[in-house]
Symmetry: C2
Subunit: 233 residues, 2 copies
DNA sequence: TGTGATAATATGTCTATACATAATAACCCT
DNA sequence: AGGGTTATTATGTATAGACATATTATCACA
């Protein structure tokens, strides 16, 4: 039992979790309503509400007005990933970060990128190819498109000194985004850049970010073999 | 602006987020205290507190007693992954789920698994190999170890009817866990089971779960090519 | 000039009360 | 029965007021 006070919301929370864990309250089952629990714990209903809301946020219970609160049949666990800035990720491992801007061209993107960036027909975008290095060894190869129609300042930025990754973090806050992870066999181009053999399995992350429906950037990151993405549950 | 009522906590939340995005409140800067914001929005302090707590949970601001509330310097974005039960993931795509238990043996696990499961020397564990199928086509191949020393009931369970995945979700709640994603070239064994060519890049997920330090299970899932892990930001 | 006690302050939490809202249950009328 | 209206119920939210707690600022004293 964490907090000593019997009427703190955290005490109620851990008590509730304990009852779920011990199966005193079984999956799918209805638990007492807030008023009754408040009586039992000798506290205000608001305090029970605060506790149950936290338990619900963590996915252990489902709550519906009038229908009541029931233990989740499948306590779906959630893992949280803090999206790292590549430089910080490398520096956190005690390695030296650097990057090479290999390509920087404003041109008409392929249809799929136009769709992801929500670009009208015929609108160009900035294409960047960057190699991220850790201790001067290839770490990841990045193919990025930036919507300079929506973000004109990006056209003037110097991405050789600051990586597009970081420039965007500080200059283009976004409201929504999507992240897709997959595995792919390295094509000749990536293999050469990452200094690996063609066909080697590489971990790939694609990210699209937007601000109120306006696409900002679409990136595809290909990591050198051995890269692992860790998440705590 | 989402909720119309000017004094709802959700309104305040989106207003606060807007001020951060528009840099009216800059990173690192101190924002007004709850009492002042309550005055400004014409609501109770508790309502402002509710809103700011939500914004803080999302990582946009840092709050400390007496020190006040300031905008996070690195608005580190977080992506949340709901760890899916494989059956549900497949059924959500409108496909038929089934699974094949290929192997079920109680034996001494390799050292690395023993470490992950926190097993004492010489303690055996249950090894399961399962093939998950979507519409009768291979979807993922699973190699799992279960700590039957800690979870004796698991030794009696029939994993041919219910997958170990689901049995554990409902019977072995866990407190901590780790999730690791990576890419690998399919070895001959996996390739044969998944009906793909040796060397094809496959997306791999490894998961370890424990309860108060006692290892429960360690799994390695290898997905057929084309599998993508999606996360909303 | 420190340094230890003390005051001030912003957030954290709890209470009691009230009303809002979603969803179900009950009812009534045809 | 069937279908639509109304009542009931559990959660959701807002409020004012109070006290708790962490942390910083201040001040007195050695």
């Amino acid at each position: 039992m964490s907090p000593s006070e019997a009427n703190s919301w955290q005490h109620i929370q851990s008590e509730v979790l304990e009852r779920i864990r011990s199966r005193q309250w079984k999956p799918g089952e209805l638990i007492p309503n807030e008023t009754d629990l408040a009586k039992e714990f000798g506290c205000a209903r608001a305090t029970v509400n605060r506790a149950l809301r936290a338990v619900a946020d963590a996915g252990w219970i489902d709550r519906r007005r009038k229908a009541g609160t029931r233990v989740a049949t499948f306590p779906e666990r959630k893992a949280v990933l803090s999206i790292p800035v590549i430089r910080k990720e490398i520096e956190a491992k005690g390695q030296d970060y650097s990057h090479d801007l290999l390509h920087s061209v404003t041109r008409l993107p392929p249809a799929e990128v136009s769709r992801r960036l929500n670009l009208a027909d015929g609108i160009k975008a900035l294409e960047l190819h960057t190699l991220h290095l850790a201790d001067n060894k290839p770490h990841a190869y990045e193919e990025r498109w930036i919507n300079v129609d929506f973000l004109p300042e990006a056209a003037k930025a110097d991405f050789t000194t600051i990586s597009a990754n970081e420039w965007l973090v500080t200059n283009a806050p976004f409201t929504e985004g999507e992240l897709v992870f997959s595995a792919a066999n390295a094509a000749a181009k990536e293999a050469k850049l990452l200094n690996i053999e063609t066909g080697t399995a590489i971990f790939t992350a694609s990210r699209t970010t937007s601000h109120d429906g306006n696409g900002i950037t679409a990136v595809r990151l290909m990591f050198t073999p051995g890269y692992q993405l860790h998440m705590a549950i």
